[in-house]
């Protein structure tokens, strides 16, 4: 019975704001750059991870209009050379997002950094290329949002 009492007294949970946004949208920015501040053609920093591995560029992404990203999401990201179309890198993995409820990010699904790996490329081969980067996020129901940016690959 105490359960019933406790439940009866529990405040109604407020719906997560991230579920409320109507327009599906994904925003993408290089790590360390505020959302909306990056201008296409700007420097896209890349480097070697401290512990080794293929060169990478870190990004941050935030999504709106998708549901249940806290239960799971699939992220696909890839980059091609804007001039010759060469495939520069890709990454795909499952992860979960957090529904931000404070500050500038409130109402967006946010997560840890996304690392785009330039498999098979040397550091100096990448310098000066203009990379077209696309990131796509899918929620558990299969709905997707995507975003793109292009930047000049610049060593960290």
């Amino acid at each position: 019975m105490w359960w019933a009492l406790a439940l009866a007294c529990a405040p109604d949970p407020e719906p997560p704001p991230c579920e409320d946004l109507a327009a599906p949208e994904l925003q993408l920015t290089p790590a360390g750059v505020e959302f909306g501040a990056f201008v296409d053609g700007g420097p896209l920093l890349y480097g070697t991870p401290p512990q080794g591995g293929a060169p990478y560029s870190p990004f941050n992404a935030r999504a709106a209009g998708l549901v249940d990203l806290d239960e799971g999401a699939h992220v696909e990201m890839w980059a091609v050379d804007a001039q010759d179309g060469a495939e520069l890198g890709s990454a795909g993995y499952d992860l979960r997002f957090v529904c931000a409820n404070v500050g500038e990010a409130a109402g967006w699904w946010v997560g840890s950094e996304l690392h785009l790996r330039f498999d098979g490329w040397e550091l100096d081969e990448l310098e000066g290329r203009v990379a077209e980067v696309v990131v796509e996020v899918a929620d558990p129901g299969g709905a997707t949002v995507s975003a793109r940016l292009s930047g000049l690959l610049t060593p960290m």
Partner: protein, 549 residues
């Protein structure tokens, strides 16, 4: 009355089971029991503003299974210097920074009509909750050496399949399915350190491995760990450096103290971190400790711990053992292993029994070849030198940070990086206190209602012990609705500034705590004072009437 319940988190209570494959991999045909992965990073900046420095990484290694199956491979950014370390480094560090949750029981026997009395050391100023806001087939072997019990190679490769095949051919028990995980590291021409047990060693000889190399940032190559790990692998990371260390590309969580099982000794601490990290998407760390590295002064080695000159002069092996036993040398499996290799216990006697009382099981004359000079040299090389080096690393560091998380294989998609941030609050105390206030009670005993006062100022009304007992509930179970979310704050920290708070439940948590139990009629069992007071009044009335008669 004060009653203390002291409890360490489960961190040191874990059985000393094996864990292995940290940032590395093993033959996943033979499941590896990884109880935790403990890593110590030391960073010594060059001081020229380049961000470069010398990184020392020490990894505790344990492994269950056949010696032949043990293999450990880790990528590094430059050719490292390899050395063996000592388990005591991890044990002593872990114990010195252990999150401890203490519940203090206070009884308030003077209840007045205005409400509950407040203890002098109450954690909130108000009664309510206030928000406070060599090239071989594509593989170049750069170095090959024996380090402690390990045969090691440092190599590079230009083809991941060739690398895997080479390692397997050379007797490194790694599975085929690590090839995709290794591929990007090969593509970037990174170096690999591979080790296996020497033919003369077995898994009982495993010692922590240290690597010293040039770099800018401490990182765990966790993506390789994903190949062979257990669910929710605990990661315990100690970072020594100029200031507080924070995860750079992972999120950071601050825990909800209401999620802690205070009445159960806080033993669910690891679980709370696991839940909090999951709420943050699976890639997040909690800070267990942040503060001066000086708490480790002299903990591993100091000159006065043992007089090696005296030790060399002893004749009896038992005197030699007892002198070590009564010295300040920290216990470690390396110390035990060395002593029993020099003075083996008789058949059927365990190492620990023998070492606690060697003369109980043998006679000194059973060891005619014992030479204290030789034995002490071995002790110095195998045990004391690594302790001296580790102490030197600690002494040379200003700040120590301990971070903790747990991760599933599918969450290991990015290697966590750790950076130093001097703008954040530098101190995180590992000792946490909550107060169980028992209100009223001379006649009530365990029928008195209580308030659980948390460090952040939240005050949670709890029913009496008797009420919970009647309902067959624990306090932890009763507080279920307050235990979520496990992360009160999820934030994105970096090398500078205060970071960005992404999720903040603090204000709501205060509101939840205030509303919890209020008006619910949860205290269905009448308080004894409510029963006793009318009875006392009745008796008093009778007494007065008798006097008047």
């Amino acid at each position: 009355m004060y009653r203390l319940v002291l409890a360490a988190s489960a961190l040191v209570l874990l059985p000393a089971r094996a864990w292995a494959c940290g940032g590395m991999f093993c033959d996943n045909v033979n499941p590896v029991d990884q109880a935790a992965e403990r890593i110590v990073f030391g960073f010594e900046p060059d001081g020229d503003g380049s961000g470069m420095g010398t990184i020392t990484t020490e990894v505790q290694i344990a492994f269950t299974g056949e010696s032949d199956n043990f293999a450990w491979v880790v990528p590094v950014s430059s050719v490292p210097e390899l050395f063996t370390s000592n388990d005591a480094l991890f044990t002593v560090l872990a114990n010195a920074t252990l999150p401890i949750h203490t519940l203090v029981f206070e009884e308030f026997r003077t209840c007045d009509a205005g409400g509950y009395g407040r203890p002098a050391n109450a954690m909130s100023d108000s009664a309510g909750s206030v928000y406070d806001g060599s090239t071989s087939g594509g593989v170049s072997v750069l170095a090959s050496q024996t380090v402690g019990p390990y045969d090691t190679v440092i190599l590079q490769a230009n083809d991941s399949s060739v690398l895997v095949e080479w390692l397997q051919t050379e007797g490194y028990g790694i599975p085929d399915n690590i090839e995709p995980a290794v591929r990007p590291y090969v593509a970037a021409e990174q170096y690999f350190v591979a080790l296996k047990l020497s033919s003369s060693a077995d898994t009982g000889d495993l010692a922590p491995l240290g690597m010293r190399y040039r770099g800018t940032t401490a990182s765990i190559p966790i993506q390789l760990t994903a190949v062979a790990t257990i669910p929710d692998l605990p990661l315990e990371v100690f970072v020594l450096g100029p200031s507080r260390a924070v995860p750079d590309n992972y999120l950071h969580v601050r825990l909800n103290d209401a999620s802690i099982d205070w009445y159960g000794g806080g033993l669910n601490y690891r679980d709370v971190v696991r839940l909090a990290a999951d709420e943050a998407g699976g890639q997040a760390f909690a800070t267990d400790y942040s503060g001066p590295a000086s708490i480790m002064d002299g903990r591993l080695w100091s000159v006065g711990m043992i007089d090696l000159g005296d030790l060399r002069g002893l004749e009896s092996p038992f005197d030699w053992i007892q002198t070590i036993n009564f010295s300040g040398l920290p216990a470690s499996s390396q110390l035990v292993s060395l002593i029993v290799s020099l003075v083996p216990p008789p058949a059927g006697v365990s190492d620990s029994d023998f070492l606690s009382c060697p003369e109980c099981y043998a006679s000194a004359s059973d060891y005619p070849d014992f030479d204290a000079e030789v034995a002490t040299d071995a002790l110095e090389a195998a045990v004391i030198d690594p302790l001296r080096d580790a102490q030197e690393m600690l002494d040379g560091s200003v700040h120590l940070t301990r971070l903790f998380t747990t991760m599933d294989a599918e969450e290991m998609t990015a290697d966590p990086l750790f950076v130093f941030n001097e703008d954040l609050d530098q101190d995180v105390n590992p000792q946490h206190i909550a107060i169980n206030e028992v209100h009223c009670g001379v006649f009530e005993g365990d029928h008195a209602e209580r308030v659980l006062a948390l460090e952040d100022g939240r005050r949670i009304s709890l029913p009496s012990e008797a009420w919970l007992e009647e309902k067959e509930l624990t306090e932890f179970e009763y507080m279920e609705e307050l235990r979520t979310p496990a992360a009160l704050v999820i934030e994105d920290l970096g090398a500078e500034g205060e970071g960005e708070i992404l999720f903040d439940y603090r204000e709501q948590a205060f509101a939840d705590a205030k509303a919890f139990g209020a008006g619910c009629g949860c205290s269905t069992t009448p308080r004894l004072s409510q029963v006793a007071a009318p009875a006392i009044l009745l008796l008093a009335g009778l007494a007065i009437r008798r006097r008047r008669v």
